[in-house]
Amino acid sequence: MAGASFPTREEVDFVVVGSGAAGGIVAKELAEAGHSVVQLEQGPHLQAADFRHDEWGTFNNHDLTWSHRQGHPQTFRKTADEVATVRDRVCNYAHNVGGSSLHFSGNYWRLRPIDFMEASVRGTIAGTNFADWPIRYEELEPYYTRVDWEVGVSGLQGPWDPPRSRDYPCPPMPVKGSDVLLERGARALGYTAYPAPVAILSQPHNGRPGCIHCGFCLGFGCEVNAKSSTMITMIPAALASGNYELRTHCTVSRVETDESGRASEVVYFGEDGAEQSQRARAVVLCANGAETPRLLLMSESPRHPDGLANSSGFVGRNLMFNGYSEVTGLFPEPVNAWKSIPATRVVHDWYEIDPAEGFYGGGGIDGRHPVRSGTPMESAIASSMLGGPTWGSEYKARIREEFTHTAAFDGHTTSLPLDSNNITLDPEVRDKWGRPAIRCTYMDHPDDIATMRYFMERSVEMMEAAGALRIHASYPEDGQTNSSHMLGTCRMGDDPSTSVIDRYHRSHDVPNLFLCDGSSLVTSSRGQPTMTIMALAFRAADHINRFAQRNEI
């Protein structure tokens, strides 16, 4: 279905930039509400039949996530006194309709009530921008439930859940051996492993089939549409609305404003490289936590010398990656964690680390394969992680052993919002369209490092209790240099001097410019943000629709 077609020189109601976890929802919701919507997506419209079990293409050629190979370099440095250099992976996201909801592993932990008011309850943290959200869990709960049902989430309601108005639409995914071992370790130590909520269908729902457990999940597109990407859950409905045009291979370079300071049109390069511009009544940027601030910074003008919507100086600041730890154990019997989805159980006993530990943090631990994709080539390259030679006959034996007989208990943790962790425009490096490259500056806060270490230690204890024969444990003690989670860079708040958008995702500075994606988050989540990004998108679309109906955009 091709959808509608709008002339670029006539004003549509909305241009939505980006078609990922947030953009797919916002565009579909606004189109179904009767507004004309043009969605600009820089990547192709891949669908289930396009996906293959191709590790080299996925992880080395970056077929989905793109890199300098496709003409999209990004640069990285730890601190502002370093010169950033081009890296293969910095802010890692999928360039296609559906964005990273296409290749993610769909861990759909809701935030809990505490997440929205942690600074008040626990106290602010000196040297950081740690703050309360302007909204509370109760305001977001109905939208979490819409994600559960309209996007499709599998899980089990229980005492471990934050309050929910409706049960999950699909039962939890079948437990994997790696998570049986997690549950065994947790139970022995008095902790609770409960079924992980995931945006992957355990049974047919909304006309889509259940998961076939192929094992090529994290990093890959789902070949049967069991993974709840916006590509399959939202875009078809948007196209069917009759009010929506999807323009793929369109790379936005700036948002233009008129003399009254309102957003007037969105300038982009089409597939043929020709610059075009779509006029719009209002603009919604859903380009992700790295690309949305980049676009605002690229949209500088005499009226907005520091970038659009940036009177606070907070555009691009407070970048949060989420932290991690990885603990691998070898077991006597076949675990076969390479099958099915990455994680089916999670332990949340350290959702909030006891402040008596002396640092801020929290998160969860789930059971997985020791290489997160759980796939043969990645596993073989990493083999001998439990010690031993990395080539020769003994290594060959280890490859086999570690592919089948290991489980990993992975920590997923908080990050603090800091001025010094940010997205800026690289002064030297440009992409294939001549746009300044994303420059990422990032060094984990000492509390974030301590949190990762804490989670590694808890995982080691559970691994020993689960009966692992040998254990290897690690965390990025020197700080992370890349992530698929780019959060907080245009955050929501009531105070225009310390936030970029208001509680309804409207930018404080430009009345008809809305931002909704990972950049909107005030705090980092406990390591699995996409459920919250989608809930925010449903909520933002509700409010934006009301504003449009009342002529308040």
Binding site: L386, G387, T404
Partner: protein, 194 residues
């Protein structure tokens, strides 16, 4: 951080022998095409687009020490060099140069230490000795990575012929699985979720 924690228990070496062998299901035309080419074990330059046959022979010899043949095929038979030929020709000029420079250095070592014209004619023990001398170089890291990738990547890239890499690790590339997936979840189900 790369911390190794040895638990109190000892590794049961016997686990390796206890692993099941899986049948490989071939479905993709690219795999079948690879099969027809893989009969000859000797590299003679057939099908190579980028690498010369002499350097390819040397790279194959190195690859075969990284993943050696024993009761199952090694990296040479898996077509690791044909994999390298494919991927090095795809925007990887830097890696190709690392391999060529490193090979030249390795040949000099073969000549200096064993008076041999090339690495590939040395005995396995001599080859291992030379590789141990250079195992911390960028050259070795690069060819090690490409060898392993070539053993396990999708066969369409020219390696992993006949799915030998998959068979080695007990990976069955069929697309549909049903629980139980392994020993522990089957045991869990049998005990009613305990």
């Amino acid at each position: 951080m790369q911390r190794h924690i040895l638990s109190r228990r000892e590794l049961l070496k016997s686990t390796l022998e206890a692993l099941p062998r899986s049948a490989i299901v071939l479905s993709m035309p690219a795999i079948l095409a690879a099969c027809s080419r893989s009969a000859q074990n000797q590299l003679d330059g057939i099908g190579l687009q980028l690498l010369g046959s002499e350097e390819a022979e040397e790279f194959a010899a190195i690859a075969d020490r990284i993943i050696p043949p024993d009761d199952t095929p090694g990296a040479r038979e898996a077509g690791a060099v044909h994999f390298m030929d494919t991927v090095l020709g795809d925007q990887r000029e830097r890696e190709l140069q690392i391999l060529r420079d490193g090979l030249g250095e390795l040949q000099n070592r073969a000549n200096a230490e064993f008076q041999a014209a090339s690495f590939s004619i040395l005995s396995a023990e001599q080859q291992d000795q030379l590789l141990r001398e250079i195992e911390n170089t960028e050259f070795f890291a690069t060819i090690r990575y490409l060898t392993v990738a070539g053993m396990f990547a999708l066969p369409a890239y020219g390696g992993n012929r006949d799915g030998v890499g998959y068979e080695l690790i007990g990976y069955d590339p069929r697309p549909v699985w049903q629980p139980p997936f392994g020993y522990y979840d089957e045991d869990y189900m049998n005990r009613g979720g305990q």
